[in-house]
Amino acid sequence: FGLKALVPLLRQDDKELSKPYDHSMTLGADLSSMIHSLGIPRDNTRHRVLDTFQSPWAETSRSEVEPTFFIPDSFVGISGVLQSPVTPPRFDSAQNDQQRVALFQDETLFYLFYKHPGTVLQELTYLELRNRNWRYHTTLRAWLTKDPLMEPEVSADGLSERGSYVFFDPQRWEKCQKDFLLFYNAIM
């Protein structure tokens, strides 16, 4: 019960001496990364973390989980959403819905393109983005457009060009400008 009993905790280098004790439980560990993984900020603003708690372990917390949320009745069944004549909104006809899609902002088009794969809507948003001079890169699976301020340099063989482009990053949900070597057969 005296101080000598703590020596094995202080002598982690001595494997034989410190063997009985699991140091991760006695001395513990630096908790900063665990606290950070919980979403607990270092500054003085506190917010609840248990309401969006994904899992007790960081290793099984690889996706966000839907928290409790409430949709007031007044938000449900709003007519005319996404310029749709029906409620809830639908996009079913390539011919009829093209003009509706033309009214949306770029970000709305990106959102619909990525959120509704294998649908009429994905096709419609693809066509509209092309109309706006965006091109879809088949390997990067991202949309890009020419930086209007820079003229690209076409390669000698005519198969590619190097220039400055504006990409839309769907992970970070923002446009970003990048210098890039663009192969013509990679875009559509």
């Binding site: 019960f1 005296g2 101080l3 000598k4 009993a5 703590l6 020596v7 094995p8 905790l9 202080l10 002598r11 063997k19 009985p20 004790y21 699991d22 991760s24 439980m25 006695t26 001395l27 513990g28 560990a29 630096d30 908790l31 665990m34 606290i35 919980l38 607990i40 506190r46 609840r48 973390v49 248990l50 309401d51 969006t52 708690f53 994904q54 899992s55 007790p56 372990w57 960081a58 099984t60 989980v65 928290p67 409790t68 409430f70 009745d73």
Partner: protein
Amino acid sequence: TSTERYYLVFTEWVRLLQRVTSDDKIIFVFIKQLMDKGVLSDSDNFIGFVKAALELSVYSFKESDPTGEVFTAIDALSKLLIKLFILQDFAGYSRQEYLNTVFSIILLVFSNDHEEDEATFNERPYFRLLSNFLCEWATLRGHNFIKVADQKTRKELLSFDAEFYNIFASYLHSFQPFAFPGFSFAWISLLSHRMFLPVMLRLPQKAGWEKLMLLLIDLLKFLNQYTIKGKISDAVSVVYKGTLRIFLGISNDVPQFLIENHYELMNNLPISYFQLKNVILSAIPLKMLVPNPFDSDLALENITECQNPPVVFYDPVSDIQALKKPVDNYLRIPSNSLLRTIINGLYLTEYDIKGGVGFDMLTTNNKLIRAIVLHVAVEAGLENGRTSSNAVFNTKSSYYQLLFDLIHDGTIELKFQVIQVMIEQLRYPNIHTRWFIYVLRDMFVTEAWEEQRTEVQEIILRSLLERVIVHNPHTWGVSVLFTQLLNSDEVNLLELDFINNIPEIKHMFVQL
């Protein structure tokens, strides 16, 4: 067979939910037909149907392509059970009975599956089912069940809300790792589920705290049982990490829960878990600003918060039992015979196996000692408020005297236990922290121990050091007392033999 017929009906339900939304009129018609056509017309049918549906859903999970939708049937089952909960008129029986029946069926199917074949049991579909209940209920109860159109039903559900969670918690208690080790990790995930834990912490009038403590204690008991010196399995190590993370989350969101329940948590915390101990005891009330504990000019009597008694959710008096009378009588008028009675009552009749640092078993009743020490603190705090600080911050007070005598007349082990528990009370600024700092500092320097003085000093320093050498966090009260002792004019720590005789300890204190 009737089971096969139930399979057919349930399969129809699953298919239906893949084609229409869950608030479509067809859904109501289907459910009504279930009742009218005798599928769910009485409790036997209901039990048979739910049992069959669950077995089929679990089977479907096991047979599904793991990269595809594996929970289609389980999700449909949870939707059906919640719909039934909302739509029935509950004439002949209560919502409580319905829920208990549903959980009992789940437990039955689950335990058969768990016991039957370890190779095929998988916790995930059961986890998903229970998680879905929590999600569905969370959606339903939004803004005091405002989406429930019928006012009578709405009122009933509102008053049932706390009970829903407590029934869920009771069943979760039955599923605990000791009982069903194959469900352990799912169980811990459910305890900490975003739609369970924060709700239990925040139910009005702390309605969820008792059951939540039951579950946390289940977890701590499991860890305690299998934290064996020298051989902690990887799986237990992972359980520990998850537990630590959960407590960190609670400490951030609702520190008051840890503050008010620290007593029972300490009663069940594995004895060598120094960091987790610090995490629990470091909880500070939201919005409290805490002065720098390393400030050597800190005057505790001038800190407003140090006048306030901390709230205890569970009164330790309930645990003192046979010793309550002698303790309370002693606090009124100290006497040797009462002391004898109390000390004799603290010794166990069997060894208590504990994987402590430096010891493997105890002969004194750790819980009883903790109860008495906390009870003394509560009484001292009350008296401080009633009369004056002088009555309590006084070595002649019976509060001080009792603790002094227990240490003086007890074995080394009893000395250790009493001092350990006193140091547990060194938490955030409050009257108990302040009082124990006063008591321990006095006990460290007083000559009244005579030949026992160095023993007591060493035990105090050991108990403080083990809380300080661990990684952060450290409790405010421990930091304050330790700083005071390091800077003490009355005792120079570096002159103490028991420090100088151990090079590693001496080195540590020189650093400090």
